[in-house]
Amino acid sequence: MAEMLIKNGFVFDPINRINGEKMDIAIKDGKIVGSVNERRAKKIDATGLTVMPGGVDIHTHIAGAEVNTGRLMRPEDHVKDVVRKTPLTRSGVGYSIPSTFVTGYRYSKMGYTTIMNPSMPPLEAKHTHEELNDTPMLDKASYPLLGDWWFVLEYLRKGDLTECARYVAWMMGTSKGYAIKIVNPGGLESWGFGRNVHSIDDEVPNFCITPREIMCGLAKVNKMLNLPHTIHLHTNNLGLPGNYATTLETMRALESVASGDKPVAHITHLQFSSFAGDGWGNMRSGAEEISKYINAHNHITFDMGQVIFTDTTTMTADGPFEYTLYELSGHKWVNTDIETETSGGIIPFHYKRNNAVNATQWSIALELALLIEDPWKMFLTTDHPNGGPFFAYPKIIAWLSSKKARMATLKKCHKKAQKKSLLPSITRELTLYDIAIVTRAGQAKALGLKEKGHLGVGADADIAIYNINPEKTDIARKYKTARRAFGNAAYTLKDGKVVVKDGEITQHVDGKTIWLDVQTAEQVKVDEEMKRRFKEYWTVEYDNYPVFDHYVKVPSPITVKADV
C-alpha cells in the first residue's frame, strides 16, 4: 500500500517533545508509522526544511448559515479577490468570507489540515454540514450552540444536571457536533426581546437563571459526559470596554468546577474580552490583569482572536454585540435569531491602524499571547473572519516570533494606542517549537484529538513542510521569510497524500467530518411527550430535525463513554 518517507527534515513535534531534530517521518496508508520499506516508499526530500504536524485551528467560522449570509451580503468583498477554475480545482471567491472550495484550498496552502467551525445553531446544522462537505482538503468539526438552548436553561434551572447531560449528549449526536459552545450565556435568550445581560449574575428574563449558573452547569455537564474538549466559551460583555472584569469573574466562577490541572473551559478570542477602561474614549488593554490570572491558574485555555488591519466581516452568535457594532458603525447589519436556541449577527468591519481602539485591540491579543507564559494554554486564531481573515496567520506568526516585526507594525499605529501598548516592554519571541504548539500541538491537545497535532506513530499523516531552515534562518530577524514560508507550504500532506506543493494545490481531496457519539447509560426518551414538547418549542417536526447520516460525506464519529 501507499508508503512514503519524509527524509531529513527539521522536525518540530512538541507533543512528542521533538524540537527541531533532523529525522525521517514514515507514512503508511495515511498514518504515521515507525518505519517503511525505504526502497518502495515514495520519498520527499525535506533537507533544510521545517516539518510540523498539519495545522489545527480551534476556532474559525468557515461554514454554515451565518457564514453564508455573510458571503451573500458582501459582493464588494468578493469582487476584489476572485479565484479561477483550474483543471484540478473549483473556482470561487476569497477575501474575508471565502467560498467553501477556496476556504479549503487556502487553509491547505498554509499547511493546515484540521479546522473547528465553532458556531452551529442545531436547527440549521444540516446547512453547516452541507457546506463542510463542500469544504475540501480539511478534516473538520463543529460546535453546536447550547448556552441559550431552552432545554439547557430549564434543566439547569431545575438543578437536574443528569437530565441536562442526557440532552446535551443527544444533541451532539443529533446535530453531529463536537463540543459545547456557549456564547454570551443568557444574553442571547434575552436578545429575543431586544435585551441583554450585563454581568454573570444578571437574571435571564422569563427563565430565572444567571450566566454563572449556565456556564458552571454546562462545565459540569461537560465533565460528566467526558467530552474530549472543554466548554468553548465566548464571554458575557464581549467587545465592551471594561469587560476584562467580567472575564476575570467568569474564570473565577469556573474554578468551582476545576479539579487538578485539567482545563475546564476554553475562552475563545480572548482579545475581545480583555478591554479595560470605562468607555471607548479611555478604552485600554486589560491583558496584564488577565494574563496574571491565567499564569496563576490551570483551568483555562484560550485563543487569541488577533485583529488584522484590513476590511473584514464580523459574525457571531452574540446578536446583541453585533447590534452594538451596528450602533457604532451604521454599517449594513444582519441579525438572525434562531428559535429556542440562539441568535446571530453580522457586520462588515474595517480595522484601521490609525484608529486608537482598533490598534489597541491589535496590541491586546499579542500582549496576551506573549504575557501568558505557558504556550499550551494559548492558541493562534483571528476568530476568522471576526478579527481578520485566516490567511493572515503568517503575519501573526511573525509578530509572535519577532519583536522586530511587531514593533514595525506598532510604529504605524495610532499614537494613543502606541503609548498605551505593553508591547515595547515585552521581549519574548516564540520559537518554531512554540509556534508548533500554538498552531497545532496545543490546539489538538485542547481538543482531545489524539490523532492530530503530532507526528508520533499512529497519528494521522497530516503534515506541513515549510521552507525554513532553522539552522540558517533566525525567524526573529528574518520575519518576512517566515511569513512567506508559513503562507505557502512547501508541502502539505493530508492523510499521507501530497495535496500542496510549493504553495499550489496538487490534488483536490475531501476531508473527514468529525463528531461525537456520546454514549450515556440512559438515553433521552423519544416518546409522544418529547415530540409534543418539540412541536411546542420548534416549528419543525421532530422527525425532520436531526442531521441524518447522509448529510456527512466522509463520516468520522468518535465514541465517548459518559459517566451518566
Binding site: M73, E76, D77, H331
Partner: protein, 270 residues
C-alpha cells in the same frame, strides 16, 4: 494614437479592460493586438476582435470607431491619456477611473464612471443605469472627477456619491443621488421620482420638471441661483429642500420654481 475598429457585430459580451491608455503606452501594435480579451466564455486577443491601426498623432491616445455597445470595461482604472469612442460603448466605461479623459460620441451602457475618482467622462448620447454608482454592496460611489452627459441618464445614478460633479443636460431617471453623501448633480431637464432618497449630504440641482419631492424632504428657502462648479452657475429661482429626514440627512435639492408651479404649496411653510 491607436485606432480600434470592431471586426464584426458582437453578440456576446466582450471584456476589454486592456483598452486603456496606460496599458497601451509603450507597446507596439503587435503587442497591443496580443492583449487578452474575453468574448463570451472564450479567451481571445484584441487583434482577434478589432482592426488595430497606429497613427503618429499624440492625442487622443485611443480611438474606437464603430459599434462597441457590447464591449465592456473600456478605460477601466485609467489614469492618463484620452479615449474617444465614435459610436456606442458598453457597460463599465471609465469604471474606477483615476485620471485622463473619455469622450463617447454615442450612448454609454450602465455603470459608466462607476467608482470614479478623478478625470473627465463626456458622453454625447445617453447613459445607461447606475451612472457613477458603485458596485453591488459597496457604499462608496463616485469620489471625484467630472461626468457630463448630453443626453438622458437611466435610473439609480450618482448612488452613494461622495464627491465630484455630474452634469446631465437631458433627463434623469428615478433614484438619482440615492444615499448620496457629497458632491453635486445638475439635471437640466426632467428628473425622475425619488430623487435624493436617503441622501445625507451633497446637492442635486434640477432645472427642469420634477413630479414630486419625497415626502421626507422639508422646504428650507428660495434661492435665486446656485453654483454647480467653478465654471457653471444655474439660474433660478430654486426651491431648496432639505433631507432626507428618514436618514436625518442634510442633503440639498434645488428645484426650479418657474418650471414646477405645483410645488408652490410648500411656500406656506416658509
Amino acid at each position: 494614437m491607436i485606432t480600434l475598429s470592431p471586426l464584426k457585430k458582437f453578440q456576446y459580451p466582450v471584456m476589454a479592460e486592456c483598452i486603456n491608455p496606460d496599458v497601451f503606452k509603450g507597446k507596439t501594435t503587435a503587442e497591443i493586438a496580443a492583449l487578452s480579451v474575453w468574448e463570451g466564455n472564450k479567451q481571445k486577443t484584441l487583434g482577434d476582435l478589432f482592426a488595430i491601426e497606429e497613427t503618429a498623432a499624440e492625442n487622443p491616445s485611443i480611438v474606437i470607431n464603430g459599434d462597441a455597445s457590447k464591449v465592456r470595461r473600456v478605460g477601466m482604472g485609467m489614469k492618463n491619456g484620452e479615449i474617444v469612442v465614435n459610436g456606442n460603448i458598453g457597460m463599465h466605461v471609465g469604471e474606477k477611473m483615476a485620471g485622463g479623459k473619455i469622450t463617447v460620441n454615442g450612448d454609454a451602457g450602465g455603470w459608466a464612471g462607476s467608482d470614479m475618482k478623478k478625470g473627465l467622462i463626456e458622453i454625447h448620447g445617453n447613459a445607461g443605469d447606475y451612472l457613477a454608482s458603485p458596485y453591488r454592496g459597496s457604499s462608496t460611489g463616485m469620489r471625484g472627477g467630472t461626468i457630463i452627459v448630453h443626453g438622458n441618464v437611466g435610473s439609480d445614478s450618482a448612488v452613494f456619491m461622495r464627491g465630484g460633479v455630474i452634469k446631465i443636460r437631458g433627463n434623469a431617471g428615478p433614484f438619482l443621488g440615492f444615499r448620496m453623501g457629497d458632491g453635486t448633480v445638475y439635471v437640466q431637464k426632467e428628473c425622475g421620482t425619488r430623487v435624493g432618497a436617503c441622501m445625507t449630504g451633497g446637492k442635486i440641482i434640477i432645472a427642469g420638471a420634477l413630479q414630486e419631492v419625497m415626502p421626507t424632504f422639508t422646504i428650507d428657502s428660495i434661492k435665486p441661483k446656485v453654483k454647480v462648479d467653478e465654471t457653471e452657475t444655474a439660474a433660478g429661482p430654486f426651491y431648496v429642500f432639505l433631507g432626507d429626514l428618514a436618514e436625518s440627512g442634510s442633503g440639498k435639492i434645488f428645484v426650479s420654481k418657474a418650471v414646477n408651479p405645483h410645488l408652490s404649496m410648500y411656500e406656506k411653510y416658509l
